[in-house]
């Protein structure tokens, strides 16, 4: 008799958000909803969590630098330890939720899922969900780099406390969010009342879905009135990509500018290959794979998105364009 399969990956949802944005309310909502799923929840302080079937793990955020010559490569040591312990008892829960402290930079959490071999084997990052306070976000974005990073890293943004803002104010906040991260899905809410399936089971880090959502750029590529240091740029090219040129360019770029590049995503059509290549990076840590062929008749355009600080748009554009095969 063969041993039972222990390889199924457990989905992990990372819940971030500035202090007072409504993170704990959302967590309580997820845990108390009658969904029949059991979660292991990693939190930083025991709050008033209503948990019966769920396992709550109290952790201190321990951010460790990796000794791999990459200064921005940090991981959450406590998560590696905790996930290692939880994975010995698979079947006890259906998913893991990691709540970060309000002032946390989401990068170490995200990088943990790319860097640690055991965590990678046992789990997959499902989505980074950021809860923001519609009323106070504009002020936070001005004075807090963490608040900007939490938006930049988000796959889903719960725009909370909608009851406290006028419709025009809400639209303005959405515009600010999209200027930082046009790829995040925004869910407006009051008292964090979003449906569970809006935040759990999103599979947002799946390479095959990486650029599935078309960004909602509000003003084309010309939104130059920056509300925050963190911005995004995206480029599309029509000629096939030369794999060698792209690899050389992106490796050097991530090496040199990785600290400022928070998230990078791309879908590439390599010359002579019918398949599409999906690519993503968190700071300097990159991951990529073929994700199947493009639909017959679809334009074979390659696309890349950068979310980060001090993005040199013309330079990035020239760099990406030069990765195409010669015309």
């Amino acid at each position: 008799m063969a041993d039972t399969d222990t390889t199924a990956q457990v989905p992990v949802t990372v819940l971030t958000g500035y202090l007072g944005a409504g993170k704990t309310t959302l967590l309580n909502r997820i845990l108390s909803e009658n969904h029949g799923r059991r979660f292991a929840v990693v939190i930083n302080e025991f709050g008033e969590l209503g948990v019966d079937n769920d396992l709550v793990v109290d952790a201190d955020e321990e951010v460790f630098e990796m000794n791999n010559g990459c200064i921005c490569c940090t991981v959450r040591g406590d998560l590696i330890r905790i996930i290692g312990g939880l994975m010995r008892r698979k079947g006890r829960f259906d998913g893991i939720i990691v709540e970060t402290t309000g002032l946390a930079d989401p990068a170490p959490v995200a990088q943990t899922f790319f860097v640690d071999e055991d965590v990678k084997r046992a789990t997959r990052l499902d989505a980074i969900v950021t809860v923001v306070d519609a009323k106070h976000l504009p002020a936070r974005l001005k004075d807090s780099s963490e608040a900007q990073e939490q938006i930049a890293f988000a796959d889903i943004i719960v725009l909370n406390k909608m009851d406290l803002v006028a419709p025009a104010e809400a639209d303005e906040v959405e515009r600010m969010i999209k200027a930082i991260n046009p790829y995040a899905e925004i869910r407006r809410s009051t008292k964090s009342d979003v449906p569970l399936d809006a935040v759990i089971g999103r599979d947002a880090f799946n390479l095959a879905r990486i650029l599935e959502r078309e960004p909602e750029f509000l003003s084309g590529e010309d939104h130059h009135e920056h509300d925050s240091e963190v911005n995004s740029v995206s480029f599309e090219v029509s000629r096939p990509i030369d794999a060698e040129r792209f690899n050389a360019w992106i490796s050097r770029l991530l090496q040199e500018k990785g600290q400022d590049l928070l998230r990078t995503k791309g879908i590439l059509h390599y010359a002579g290959d019918r398949r599409r290549f999906a690519f993503q990076a968190v700071h300097m840590i990159a991951d990529g794979d073929y994700i199947g062929e493009a639909k017959e008749g679809d334009p074979r355009r390659s696309k890349i998105v950068f979310i980060g600080r001090d993005l040199n748009r013309p330079q990035l554009r020239r760099g990406f364009e030069a990765c195409q095969v010669d015309a």
Binding site: D3, T4, E62, G85, R89, R92
Partner: protein, 340 residues
Amino acid sequence: MAAVSEADFLLASRGVAKELGAWVAGAVFDRAGRLAFALADGTLHRHAEEGDWPVAVAHEGGLLSACADAKDGWLSGGDDGRLVRVAPDGMVTQIADYRGKWVDHVAAHEAGVRAAAVGKAVHVLGVAGAALKSLAHPSSPGGICFDAKGKRVAVSHYNGASLWFVGAKEDKPRLLEWKGSHHAIAFSPDGTHVVTAMQEPSLHGWRLADGQHMRMSGYPTKTKSLAFTARGRWLATSGAESVVLWPFFGGGPMGKAPTELAGGDEVMCSAVACHPQHEVVAAGFGDGLVLITEVASGKVVPVAPPRGSAVSALAWDAAGARLAFGTEAGFAGFVDLSRR
């Protein structure tokens, strides 16, 4: 091992094994040679010659770490925050409750001392259960171990390891510094070296006499299991597609290449255990294969065939006659090598 038939494995002729149903966190012989398997579901299964193996429920949640208790029986820590003793007759006694925190690592020494890593602290307790001291660390310990005499406890953590004298009046550690996150830790049998396994993946060692650093690298995956051979000449380690042994003699391991044994199957070694007397190493692999290999000759003796799940626990008894093993999927057993 592909050409080896089931019957060639020692388990078939000299062993006993069972499906226990949960991740084997520890195969542990107590000080009197009684064998028990500590499972991640919180239970401890004691081997019995006849009939079913009695089960003790040590933890309400998951069991994270287990070892032989100081005098007899077993000691375990769990994610229920409890430090628990299971007596040879199976009676479970709670020694301490650190509610809200995980008891990640436990260790004990026959000199009559126990240690439990909880949060960022290592609590030192006596055999009667009294808390003797609480040692604070800059981050959560990745591993703890006593030296051969039970006088010092070494604790690995972020950016190095701390060395504490258990009986010291004033608790001030000797800090062994090295940048990075350190996990599994081992003392050389003569107490002159401390070695840790790192996140990177590589090993780091310190020669305690002069603080000399030793870097041992080249692993494809993290080393989770490391052990010195009986007289401390070799350090056996997991984390590669063979058993990697570093020489701790003739000026090594600095500038020396490690010896690699029992490789060739392209499966990672997941656990090692050194024979208590001879330069013989038992190794478990990612596919469940267990084998014994002699360092001098490199000769390999197959113990248990691969069943698909990684070996997560491996231990010799003090006499070196029995070798116990367990896998992540809960298959556990032992072989008896004593003369018949």
